[in-house]
């Protein structure tokens, strides 16, 4: 029996036992809130072997503290203030930092209040096994609780509370350890960046110092000093005369003013999106306007960084502008910015004048095109910074000394990989050794006087273009969790390991409980070549009544992954398996993914089956769901299955089954198309790694049948290790796809019926018609084609009509561009949106979910659990009854899903870059100095450049002209002077051109970038 007691509290000290405060509600009402507080004596100090504290089992702090610090020979513990955690979290997370930490509840709560991400990191820190962190609940301990005094700000109260905690610890240590012959007890050191707090602490006899001072006096300060955030280093040693700096930016308004402004409708809040073509321009999408608010120029962007939540003020209509129509590259424009001054005191700087000239021109131009004006404004304050660690390169040009032995402190630029971010200024002692490496940098602050944000170095990832560094930087950049699975997670796997088999059939066996024996069915799987995580298999057979029984069998992952286990939690946070060109980051441990759950041929496996009875016309007569045991008869690749399909001599049951499935799939597809499903396209290329060191199972080294390597002739390609090819589509691809869609839809209907509040579904919101405005205008003006976007069916039909007889690829191009106009599909919880918005626009079905890939998507695992509960197989875990919980998971999944896609694309891009360089080198060796030349389509026109899309490589690039050309924004044309024709050549949108593609390395940052120049109709290398 649990120990139930009644807590007593004194009745005459209401000040101590009650917490009284006033709260203002959303409606502006003021409520008085009183909460009780029970003070305790059983909050322990956490020091191992403490005489006064009975609780010795969970204590983590070493008995005599840490003895290595030079200032505290008798040992010490550190007790950091809130501001230390807010600024120096990287320091604490470093493996070099091993001092015992006392974490006060006051500090924890303050961190939680200030920043949830930091709080989560702090919690992880407390839990990590290799750190010694003790959480001391000082607010509940009788001696250390602090009551806010009159006229005391909450901040001051917290500071006092922290000092009080430090004081208690020091007295406590004195009591525990009575001094023996001059041996002093260890000390508790208060770390704080707040000079005022330090002063007060010292006057109260509490040892106290700043983080920097503390680190400097440790035995090995060098590696830790770099981790210190800049915000602090500045405060402690104010370098130069800060006051003398020119102010570049307007001051941000305080948060309260921002919120008031937003509530009053004077300001607008939204995410800041930087423009990747023009670093001087950004947009903020706010609810008030349909078009995003345009921010032009540094001053108006006012230190906002991509992803920040900002408040903007919109200018009067007369000052509205249209987006700039030229490419402004930060790299070339700001190459010569000096790091040390950074603020460019001399306003006559050439860069500045150039910049101003360009800016003013952009303003003038927009005045000429009044039709395209959109709301324009300026950032007046940052509601929330969404800064994280960014992958960067060091800008070698900003180094003052490059000798590798130099350990002098240097201020250098780090250029983030993402073009959306500004350069970050960091101070480090290891600058020379970081050149040519990928490093992680976190921005800390951005002053009004500085053109760039200040940050600090977190860690090095490895050499630029080494596969490991590139891979890790990709994963970090897209926030993909890639740590190996921990022990707690692996402990959730079946103890038999890979020896696990389906037990012999026995009704008493829990595995066989409510499970149908479908081992006799002729089931097979059809997957891409080299697929190891086979999560679906199919079968079909004719029934006696003439109808057809078709079944989709999905790996029964929910049998192995139980709710509320570490493995489940990890899978939920990973959300999805991430496929990079050369690596797969699994959602589930590979024992499950590629073995126990993989429906391999000839092995009995657990499955979750969806079995339909279909008529000859593929109409559903009925559908049932059951857990089952299957034994796949064969695991085909798409091409193998296709061969069987085509070979009319084969009449074995497997082939018959596939034919039956294929005929049904065709009818299903026809129905779907008739209902208005979209056939969209995205640039998809495959990376084919033939190099011997690539050991990844995902990509078969042999070239694929059907996947045509369209680029280059055989001779050119000799000796290349990386192939870039377009994905091919076979009838069998569509066969599998149709049945998966059907299964997903059937499951979605069923779980939504049973769990109308919490069913895990997926939808695709119809894009707003205005999204297509641009594309419609382009098509109309250039090709005389119209796009009907009234609904998905109309769009599909009009996309079919967008053909150019001369260029067959044009249709695909339009589809790609149309796809970009759409919103992305998302997971959602059935109860959180209204029923009429469930529709999946692209698939044209009223309801949809993901059910068929539980090995690699967590949403499918949830759908499995809900379906299992629906058929009364396993009761539903209570968390899946909670709408709030499901919504939270859906948010994570949507984000992970998006990130995974982007990471995959970025990885392909990286290899395309490598392939290009290799091919270029090969050509150069063969005496062809022209480099790689490919056909491309113009997809955007700028004042000084063209956006082009290279089909063969799935690559989008930019052709820039150094000198000005005639630009007609209305008709999307650029007129170039042509030396050969003697006159001028006009290049228009959708034109097919030839471009030379090369990879050029930035000398300073070692960052490779694709550079394109026009070859035909006119050579633009001189322009």
């Amino acid at each position: 029996m649990a120990d139930i007691t009644i807590q007593k509290r004194p009745h005459n000290e209401a000040v101590v036992t009650h917490r009284k405060f006033f709260k203002k509600t959303a409606r502006g009402k003021v409520i008085k809130i009183i909460r009780e507080r029970y003070l305790r004596d059983d909050i322990y100090c956490g020091i191992v072997g403490c005489r006064l504290c009975a609780d010795g089992t969970t204590a983590v702090l070493p008995t005599s503290g840490d003895m290595t610090h030079r200032d505290f020979p008798y040992g010490h513990y550190i007790l950091p203030d809130t501001n230390i955690f807010l600024t120096q979290m990287d320091l604490f997370e470093s493996n070099e930092f091993m001092f015992p930490i006392i974490l006060l509840q006051t500090v924890m709560e303050e961190v939680r209040h200030r920043s949830l991400p930091l709080y989560n990191r702090l919690k992880a820190l407390v839990k990590s096994e290799d750190k010694q962190v003790w959480v001391f609940y000082n607010e509940f301990r009788r001696e250390t609780t602090v009551i806010r005094e009159e006229d005391e700000t909450p901040n001051d109260r917290n500071d006092r509370s922290i000092r009080e905690g430090a004081k208690w610890y020091n007295t406590h240590l004195h009591l525990v350890r009575s001094p023996i012959r001059g041996q002093k007890p260890p000390q508790v050191v208060l770390l704080t960046e707040d000079a005022g707090n330090r002063e007060k602490a010292l006057s109260a006899n509490i040892p106290c110092m700043s983080a920097r001072k503390y680190i400097e006096r440790t035995q090995k300060p060098a590696p830790l000093l770099d981790l210190l955030a800049a915000a602090v280093s500045e405060e402690i040693e104010p370098t130069k005369a800060t006051g003398a700096r020119a102010v570049l930016y307007a001051e941000h308004l305080p948060t309260t003013a921002l919120l008031a402004g937003v509530n009053a409708g004077q300001l607008h809040q939204g995410h800041f999106n930087a423009n990747s073509y023009n670093y001087l321009e950004g947009t903020v999408l706010v609810p008030t306007f349909t078009k995003p608010v345009l921010l032009v120029g540094r001053e108006n962007m006012n230190r906002a960084v991509h992803g920040d939540v900002v408040a903007v003020e919109v200018f009067p209509k007369s000052e509205w502008k249209s987006p700039g129509d030229e490419v402004v590259d930060a790299e070339s424009m700001l190459k010569n910015d000096d790091v040390e001054s950074g603020d460019e005191n001399d306003e006559n700087d050439t860069n500045d004048t150039l910049l101003q000239a360009r800016e003013s021109r952009a303003v003038r131009e927009s005045a000429q095109a009044p039709t395209e004006k959109q709301p324009t404004g300026r950032v007046v304050g940052i509601v929330k910074r969404n800064w994280r660690a960014y992958v960067c390169h060091i800008d070698a040009s900003s180094l003052t000394s490059t000798s590798t032995s130099s350990l002098s402190l240097q201020t250098i630029f780090a250029s983030p990989i993402s073009r959306l971010l500004p350069r970050i200024r960091i101070r480090t002692r290891q600058a020379p050794s970081l050149v040519g490496q990928k490093i992680l940098v976190t921005p800390d602050r951005w002053d009004r006087t500085s053109r760039y944000p200040d940050g600090h170095f977190v860690r090095a990832l490895g050499k630029v273009e080494s596969k490991e560094a590139e891979q890790e930087s990709l994963l970090l950049e897209f926030d993909v969790p890639y740590r190996p699975f921990g022990k707690a997670i692996l402990d959730c796997l079946p103890v038999e390991g890979d020896a696990w088999v389906v037990p012999p059939k026995n009704d008493g066996d829990p595995v066989w409980k409510d499970r149908e024996d479908l081992r006799d069915l002729v089931v097979c799987s059809i997957d891409p070549p080299g697929c190891q995580d086979i999560d679906d298999a199919l079968h079909a057979r004719r029934l006696q009544n003439g109808n057809i029984e078709a079944g989709v069998h999905i790996a029964d992952v929910s049998h192995f992954v139980y709710p509320d286990t570490p493995m489940d939690a990890e899978a939920a946070s990973r959300g999805t398996t991430v496929y990079l060109a050369d690596k797969r980051v699994d959602m589930l441990p590979s024992l499950l993914g590629t073995n126990l759950c993989s429906l391999r041929a000839g092995i009995e496996r657990l499955a979750f089956s969806v079995i339909w009875e279909l008529t000859e016309d593929a109409n559903i007569v009925n559908v049932r769901f059951t857990k089952s045991v299957i034994s796949s008869k064969a695991a085909f690749e798409y091409s193998e299955a296709q061969m069987r399909l085509d070979d009319s001599t084969l009449t074995d049951p497997l082939t018959v089954s596939i034919r039956l499935l294929n005929s049904l799939a065709k009818k299903l597809k026809a129905k779907r198309m008739a209902a208005g499903a979209l056939d969209l396209a995205s640039p998809e290329v495959r990376i084919n790694l033939a190099s011997p060191e690539s050991s990844d199972p995902l990509v078969a080294p042999s070239s694929l049948p059907g996947a045509s390597t369209l680029s280059g002739s055989k001779d050119e390609r000799k000796g290349e290790t990386i192939g870039v090819m377009q994905k091919a589509l076979l009838a069998t691809n569509s066969l599998v796809e149709e049945f998966m869609l059907l299964a997903n839809i059937s499951v979605a209907m069923r779980i939504n019926e049973t769990f109308p509040q919490t069913a895990v579904l997926r939808r695709h919101v119809a894009p707003p018609k205005t999204n297509f405005d641009n594309l419609q205008d382009m098509l109309m003006k250039r090709k005389g084609l119209t796009l009907d976007v009234s609904d998905s069916g109309a769009l599909a039909a009009s996309l079919d009509k967008c053909v150019d007889p001369q260029t067959p690829a044009f249709n695909t191009l339009v589809r790609i561009m149309a796809t970009r106009c759409m919103t992305s599909a998302e997971y959602f919880c059935a109860g959180s949106v209204s029923r009429d918005t469930f529709r999946h626009y692209g698939l044209a079905t009223p309801i949809y979910t993901h059910f068929t890939s539980p090995i690699r998507r967590y949403a499918d695992v949830l759908a499995h659990r809900q379906l299992a509960a629906t058929i009364a197989h396993t009761p539903l875990h209570p968390s899946l009854h909670s709408k709030a919980h499901v919504e939270r998971i859906m948010d994570v999944l949507n984000r992970r899903h998006r990130m995974a896609q982007m990471a995959g694309r970025a990885s392909v891009e990286f290899y395309v870059g490598l392939a290009l360089r290799e091919r270029g080198e090969g050509l150069a060796k063969a005496g062809n100095i022209g480099g790689v030349v490919e056909e491309a389509f113009v997809i955007r026109t700028f004042r000084n450049g063209l956006g082009v899309f290279v089909f063969e490589l799935g690559l989008e690039g930019l052709v820039m002209f150094k000198q000005d050309v005639q630009f007609d924004a209305e008709n999307y044309t650029v007129t170039l002077p042509s030396p050969t024709a003697g006159g001028e050549v006009t290049v228009a949108l959708f034109d097919k051109v030839k471009v030379r593609i090369g990879v050029e390395k930035d000398k300073n940052t070692q960052r490779g970038r694709v550079k394109m120049t026009l070859v035909s109709p006119v050579d633009s290398s001189g322009l």
Binding site: I4, H18, R40, R112
Partner: protein, 261 residues
Amino acid sequence: MSSRIEILNDGGLRSDGRRQYELRDITIEFSLQGHADASVTFQHGLTQVLVSVLGPHEAKMRSQTAHDRAVINVEVNVAAFSTGERRRRTRGDKRLLELASTIKSTFEPVVQTHLYPRSQIDIFVQVIQQDGGLLPACINGATLALAAAGIPLSDFVCAITGGVHSTSSLLDLNTLEENDVPHVTVAIMPRTERVALVTMETRLRVESFEEIFKLAIDAGKVLYMEMKAALQRRTLTLVTALGSGSKPATQATVFDVDELL
């Protein structure tokens, strides 16, 4: 912004410094109030109710009398200032009617109503402060008030709330916790080990219900000891006040309250 407050932190402490199975402070005061035959101020944490019992007396309305037993009449009144936000509740408020009828049905089998045919027993509950656990406080207060009024009861009725925060169960929830956590109210009769009332307004998992239910029963017994002691002290003062000086009542020779009932 309940998300900013942790219901149960990693150190096993709740937002007010209690641990999982710790009940809030209980103060019981027997205060004779006006015309009432007995009245009790029952304070549990920051929830405070004043329960007055009148009767048994002749029923006011003949139509509502029963010929073979007494009728229990419960009225609940919530002071406008009892919560942080002032809110006046009318007498017809459905929540209050429900609360009253729950209390009534809890006590009907416990009070020995057959001893007083054709009469009426009034229980007036005045809620002075609210901070979670209102119904248990009303029931506990009513038990004590009925006992103090000398109305025969077959047993004490001790009520308590219990809830589940993710997987850990909590006892005696305050407002903050009640808003966040699914919970159940259980009233038990500790001597006969019977359950007088189980009620819940939130949905609770069946597996966790069993655990909570058992815990609440144990907690009810703890409450019983506390309530019994309070009643004994009260009886002791009465006995001393009666001037039966011949028997200097000490703690050891006090009547067993069970005999009184």
